[in-house]
Symmetry: C2
Subunit: 112 residues, 2 copies
Amino acid sequence: MTQQHINWSEIEPENVYPGITRQVVHGERQTMVRYVYAPGSVFPEHRHPQEQITTILSGEIEFTIAGASRVFRPGDTGVIPGDTPHGARVVGDQTVETINSLSPRRETAPGP
Amino acid sequence: MTQQHINWSEIEPENVYPGITRQVVHGERQTMVRYVYAPGSVFPEHRHPQEQITTILSGEIEFTIAGASRVFRPGDTGVIPGDTPHGARVVGDQTVETINSLSPRRETAPGP
Protein backbone atom coordinates (compact mmCIF):
# COMPACT_ATOMS: atom_id res chain seq x y z
CA MET A 1 0.00 0.00 0.00
CA THR A 2 1.13 3.53 -0.66
CA GLN A 3 2.84 5.19 2.27
CA GLN A 4 0.27 7.02 4.37
CA HIS A 5 2.41 9.37 6.42
CA ILE A 6 5.39 11.46 5.40
CA ASN A 7 7.15 14.21 7.25
CA TRP A 8 9.00 16.34 4.75
CA SER A 9 12.02 16.48 7.03
CA GLU A 10 12.50 12.76 6.30
CA ILE A 11 12.80 13.29 2.55
CA GLU A 12 16.26 14.02 1.24
CA PRO A 13 16.33 17.32 -0.64
CA GLU A 14 18.08 17.46 -3.99
CA ASN A 15 19.57 20.60 -5.43
CA VAL A 16 18.08 21.35 -8.83
CA TYR A 17 19.35 24.85 -9.54
CA PRO A 18 21.46 27.22 -7.46
CA GLY A 19 19.46 27.99 -4.31
CA ILE A 20 16.59 25.65 -5.22
CA THR A 21 15.96 22.29 -3.55
CA ARG A 22 13.31 19.72 -4.32
CA GLN A 23 11.76 16.89 -2.30
CA VAL A 24 9.47 14.35 -3.93
CA VAL A 25 6.75 12.00 -2.68
CA HIS A 26 4.92 9.70 -5.06
CA GLY A 27 1.35 8.52 -4.83
CA GLU A 28 -0.15 6.25 -7.42
CA ARG A 29 -1.79 9.03 -9.39
CA GLN A 30 0.06 12.12 -8.28
CA THR A 31 3.56 13.22 -7.43
CA MET A 32 3.95 15.80 -4.66
CA VAL A 33 6.95 18.07 -4.85
CA ARG A 34 8.12 20.53 -2.20
CA TYR A 35 10.40 23.26 -3.48
CA VAL A 36 12.40 25.66 -1.36
CA TYR A 37 13.85 28.66 -3.18
CA ALA A 38 16.49 30.95 -1.70
CA PRO A 39 16.14 34.68 -2.32
CA GLY A 40 17.39 35.54 -5.81
CA SER A 41 16.98 32.06 -7.22
CA VAL A 42 15.56 31.35 -10.66
CA PHE A 43 13.88 28.24 -12.05
CA PRO A 44 14.28 28.45 -15.82
CA GLU A 45 11.33 27.95 -18.13
CA HIS A 46 10.51 24.31 -18.76
CA ARG A 47 7.51 22.12 -19.46
CA HIS A 48 6.30 18.62 -18.67
CA PRO A 49 3.26 16.63 -19.69
CA GLN A 50 1.80 16.59 -16.16
CA GLU A 51 -0.65 19.16 -14.92
CA GLN A 52 0.91 21.03 -11.98
CA ILE A 53 -0.95 22.72 -9.16
CA THR A 54 1.34 24.93 -7.10
CA THR A 55 0.47 26.40 -3.70
CA ILE A 56 2.65 29.08 -2.14
CA LEU A 57 3.39 28.52 1.55
CA SER A 58 5.86 31.34 2.18
CA GLY A 59 7.59 34.20 0.39
CA GLU A 60 6.92 35.87 -2.93
CA ILE A 61 7.69 34.33 -6.30
CA GLU A 62 6.99 35.43 -9.83
CA PHE A 63 5.70 32.69 -12.07
CA THR A 64 5.71 33.04 -15.81
CA ILE A 65 3.13 30.68 -17.28
CA ALA A 66 2.64 30.54 -21.03
CA GLY A 67 4.42 33.88 -21.29
CA ALA A 68 2.35 35.74 -18.68
CA SER A 69 4.04 36.80 -15.42
CA ARG A 70 2.45 37.27 -12.03
CA VAL A 71 3.68 37.38 -8.44
CA PHE A 72 2.33 34.59 -6.24
CA ARG A 73 2.15 34.90 -2.47
CA PRO A 74 0.92 32.72 0.41
CA GLY A 75 -2.77 32.03 -0.17
CA ASP A 76 -2.21 31.81 -3.93
CA THR A 77 -2.41 28.66 -5.99
CA GLY A 78 -1.55 28.24 -9.66
CA VAL A 79 -2.97 25.65 -12.02
CA ILE A 80 -0.48 24.98 -14.81
CA PRO A 81 -1.91 22.75 -17.54
CA GLY A 82 0.24 19.93 -18.89
CA ASP A 83 2.80 20.85 -21.54
CA THR A 84 2.59 24.54 -20.66
CA PRO A 85 5.90 26.41 -20.47
CA HIS A 86 6.52 27.84 -17.01
CA GLY A 87 9.34 29.24 -14.93
CA ALA A 88 9.75 31.11 -11.67
CA ARG A 89 12.00 33.58 -9.90
CA VAL A 90 11.98 34.71 -6.31
CA VAL A 91 11.11 38.34 -5.74
CA GLY A 92 11.83 40.02 -2.44
CA ASP A 93 14.18 38.77 0.23
CA GLN A 94 12.27 35.86 1.76
CA THR A 95 12.78 32.16 1.23
CA VAL A 96 9.94 30.69 -0.80
CA GLU A 97 8.31 27.36 -0.04
CA THR A 98 5.82 25.79 -2.43
CA ILE A 99 3.94 22.52 -2.45
CA ASN A 100 3.12 21.13 -5.88
CA SER A 101 0.95 18.28 -7.06
CA LEU A 102 1.65 16.84 -10.47
CA SER A 103 -0.70 14.45 -12.17
CA PRO A 104 -0.35 11.92 -13.64
CA ARG A 105 2.38 10.67 -11.34
CA ARG A 106 5.77 11.73 -12.60
CA GLU A 107 7.45 8.40 -13.13
CA THR A 108 10.91 9.76 -13.75
CA ALA A 109 12.67 12.36 -11.70
CA PRO A 110 11.52 15.75 -12.94
CA GLY A 111 14.03 18.06 -14.68
CA PRO A 112 15.88 20.40 -14.44
CA MET B 1 -7.53 27.14 -20.65
CA THR B 2 -7.58 26.15 -17.03
CA GLN B 3 -7.41 29.08 -14.64
CA GLN B 4 -3.79 29.80 -13.78
CA HIS B 5 -4.10 31.90 -10.65
CA ILE B 6 -6.37 31.52 -7.65
CA ASN B 7 -6.29 33.22 -4.32
CA TRP B 8 -8.14 31.09 -1.84
CA SER B 9 -9.85 34.15 -0.39
CA GLU B 10 -11.76 34.42 -3.70
CA ILE B 11 -13.26 30.93 -3.35
CA GLU B 12 -16.52 30.69 -1.46
CA PRO B 13 -16.23 28.30 1.47
CA GLU B 14 -18.98 25.76 2.03
CA ASN B 15 -19.76 24.28 5.38
CA VAL B 16 -19.52 20.50 5.27
CA TYR B 17 -19.72 19.55 8.94
CA PRO B 18 -19.98 21.66 12.08
CA GLY B 19 -16.81 23.74 12.25
CA ILE B 20 -15.45 22.45 8.93
CA THR B 21 -15.36 24.49 5.71
CA ARG B 22 -14.22 23.44 2.26
CA GLN B 23 -13.04 25.38 -0.78
CA VAL B 24 -12.52 23.65 -4.11
CA VAL B 25 -10.45 24.40 -7.22
CA HIS B 26 -10.52 22.08 -10.21
CA GLY B 27 -7.74 21.37 -12.65
CA GLU B 28 -8.19 18.96 -15.51
CA ARG B 29 -6.60 16.02 -13.71
CA GLN B 30 -6.76 17.03 -10.07
CA THR B 31 -9.10 18.72 -7.65
CA MET B 32 -7.53 20.86 -4.95
CA VAL B 33 -9.46 21.20 -1.71
CA ARG B 34 -8.66 23.52 1.19
CA TYR B 35 -10.22 22.52 4.49
CA VAL B 36 -10.36 24.65 7.62
CA TYR B 37 -11.30 22.81 10.80
CA ALA B 38 -12.27 24.56 14.03
CA PRO B 39 -10.99 23.10 17.29
CA GLY B 40 -13.11 20.13 18.30
CA SER B 41 -14.44 19.41 14.83
CA VAL B 42 -14.74 15.93 13.40
CA PHE B 43 -14.87 14.74 9.79
CA PRO B 44 -16.57 11.35 9.88
CA GLU B 45 -15.06 8.37 8.13
CA HIS B 46 -15.79 8.27 4.41
CA ARG B 47 -14.19 7.08 1.20
CA HIS B 48 -13.97 8.13 -2.44
CA PRO B 49 -12.39 6.61 -5.51
CA GLN B 50 -9.80 9.39 -5.85
CA GLU B 51 -6.36 9.20 -4.33
CA GLN B 52 -5.99 12.03 -1.80
CA ILE B 53 -2.75 13.68 -0.76
CA THR B 54 -3.21 15.87 2.32
CA THR B 55 -0.68 18.43 3.56
CA ILE B 56 -1.09 20.02 6.97
CA LEU B 57 -0.51 23.77 7.01
CA SER B 58 -1.48 24.58 10.60
CA GLY B 59 -2.73 22.90 13.76
CA GLU B 60 -2.85 19.28 14.82
CA ILE B 61 -5.31 16.75 13.46
CA GLU B 62 -5.69 13.04 13.96
CA PHE B 63 -6.32 11.11 10.77
CA THR B 64 -7.65 7.60 10.85
CA ILE B 65 -6.77 5.89 7.57
CA ALA B 66 -7.82 2.29 6.99
CA GLY B 67 -8.35 1.95 10.74
CA ALA B 68 -4.95 3.29 11.85
CA SER B 69 -4.84 6.62 13.69
CA ARG B 70 -2.01 9.13 13.75
CA VAL B 71 -1.67 12.81 14.58
CA PHE B 72 -0.58 14.98 11.66
CA ARG B 73 1.11 18.34 12.14
CA PRO B 74 2.56 21.03 9.86
CA GLY B 75 5.31 19.44 7.79
CA ASP B 76 3.31 16.21 7.53
CA THR B 77 1.67 14.89 4.40
CA GLY B 78 -0.60 11.88 4.09
CA VAL B 79 -1.13 9.78 0.98
CA ILE B 80 -4.57 8.15 1.11
CA PRO B 81 -5.10 5.65 -1.69
CA GLY B 82 -8.39 5.67 -3.57
CA ASP B 83 -11.32 3.88 -1.93
CA THR B 84 -9.60 3.86 1.46
CA PRO B 85 -11.77 4.74 4.48
CA HIS B 86 -10.51 7.83 6.27
CA GLY B 87 -11.70 10.38 8.77
CA ALA B 88 -10.20 13.14 10.88
CA ARG B 89 -10.64 15.00 14.14
CA VAL B 90 -8.89 18.07 15.43
CA VAL B 91 -6.73 17.55 18.48
CA GLY B 92 -5.56 20.48 20.56
CA ASP B 93 -6.98 23.97 20.49
CA GLN B 94 -5.71 25.35 17.20
CA THR B 95 -7.57 25.82 13.94
CA VAL B 96 -6.35 23.31 11.35
CA GLU B 97 -5.76 24.17 7.72
CA THR B 98 -5.03 21.48 5.14
CA ILE B 99 -4.49 21.51 1.41
CA ASN B 100 -5.54 18.38 -0.43
CA SER B 101 -5.04 17.17 -3.97
CA LEU B 102 -7.42 14.55 -5.27
CA SER B 103 -6.83 12.69 -8.49
CA PRO B 104 -8.50 12.00 -10.81
CA ARG B 105 -10.41 15.25 -10.75
CA ARG B 106 -13.46 14.96 -8.54
CA GLU B 107 -16.22 15.71 -11.00
CA THR B 108 -18.99 16.01 -8.49
CA ALA B 109 -18.90 17.92 -5.25
CA PRO B 110 -17.28 15.67 -2.68
CA GLY B 111 -19.37 14.46 0.31
CA PRO B 112 -20.25 14.69 3.14
